[in-house]
Symmetry: C2
Subunit: 209 residues, 2 copies
């Protein structure tokens, strides 16, 4: 392993994360930079009425807590919550900033990760503005299948409740239930409590063009 990478890893603390644990909460000061090594987390923002506005999945290799690298660390904008157990590497503000100062490549990587995030937000905005509830739900379902799904002989299985899906697609749980039922009756998927088995993702993809 190259010595720089060793130095970077040496400065990190390893922290285990349990399922459903909130890693940080919006409004908290940005004091740590995280790298998700194993597990899966969701980034979301709370609306003034207390609804969760899903923003994106985070998976192994994803970095979050970018604000920590700024000169003036502003309050965090979003909440990051694990969906299953795993672990993260954590750098405190001082060492994170020291590291990126020493290794410009790191800073460039962080920069490009932020612009990726930017792209995903713009995408979400377009999706909300120009797609129907049905298209958004189909999309979230397919995307989630890629990210949190397990392969099964008869399709891809995701652990997702109706309510979670509804949140992600920004749709009421009733609408979600109705659409999922319809898709089930058309044979696109099979529902069970807290779980969805995607049989023909292709046909769902065709719903959102």
């Amino acid at each position: 392993m190259p010595p720089e990478i060793e130095a970077v890893l040496a400065a990190a603390t390893r922290r285990s994360i349990s399922a459903n644990q909130v890693i940080y909460r919006e409004g908290d000061p940005a004091t740590h930079l995280f790298l998700l090594v194993t597990g899966r987390a969701a980034r979301y923002k709370l609306t003034p009425e207390g609804r969760k506005l899903f923003l994106r999945w985070l998976g192994p290799g994803d970095v979050f807590g970018f604000m920590t690298l700024q000169t003036d660390a502003p309050p965090l904008l979003t909440t990051v919550q694990a969906v299953r157990e795993g672990y993260v590497l954590v750098w405190d503000r001082a060492s994170a900033r020291a590291l990126v100062r020493r290794h410009p490549r790191l800073y460039e990587n962080a920069y490009s990760a932020v612009t990726n995030y930017l792209a995903s937000l713009i995408d979400a905005l377009v999706s909300r503005a120009s797609q129907t509830a049905q298209q958004r739900l189909a999309r979230m379902l397919v995307e989630s299948a890629h990210q949190i799904g397990r392969a099964r002989p008869d399709g891809i299985e995701c652990d997702l409740t109706n309510e979670q899906l509804a949140e992600m697609a920004d749709v009421s749980p009733f609408t979600a239930s109705r659409l999922l039922s319809e898709w089930q009756s058309r044979g696109f998927l099979k529902k069970s409590r807290g779980k969805i088995l995607l049989c023909s993702p292709e046909r769902l993809v065709s719903l959102h063009f």
Copy 2:
């Protein structure tokens, strides 16, 4: 003037921008970094159906074309169009990257500008998800008044057509017309073709909490 700043400015080209000129278009490669010196521009994204999705105003001091600083310059995500004449400073990719490599402070500023942009996008997302058409329209009107408005003895005047406002608030032009009429009849504002005179912004602010 400190010598570093002189070096930065020396590397820039000055370019005049006419009203309504598109400075760059989404999908184009990110080849230049811009600093708006005078004038006003809008950043928006086109939806698949060709609607403009307004993202934010850009004013004097704002930097855009951030993607240019990345190692691999991806295609631009948004379109930036001037709304009135002004001028920008322009750096090509090579010199922009050379400058930020030499002056870490510049890079930090760019970084924090990007996170600002991020914050404004998240804000837009929350606004779309949790506010009514009325609240969004009131909000855009007040924000625009700050950014593009001129003070008048009897209020703040903006050059905005119903259609532009509708685009910005992501509302149909009919809804915009109806709401504006209502507000006019309540005395919050006065409409004329392509222009709006805000008489009591406070009362509009109270509409979007």
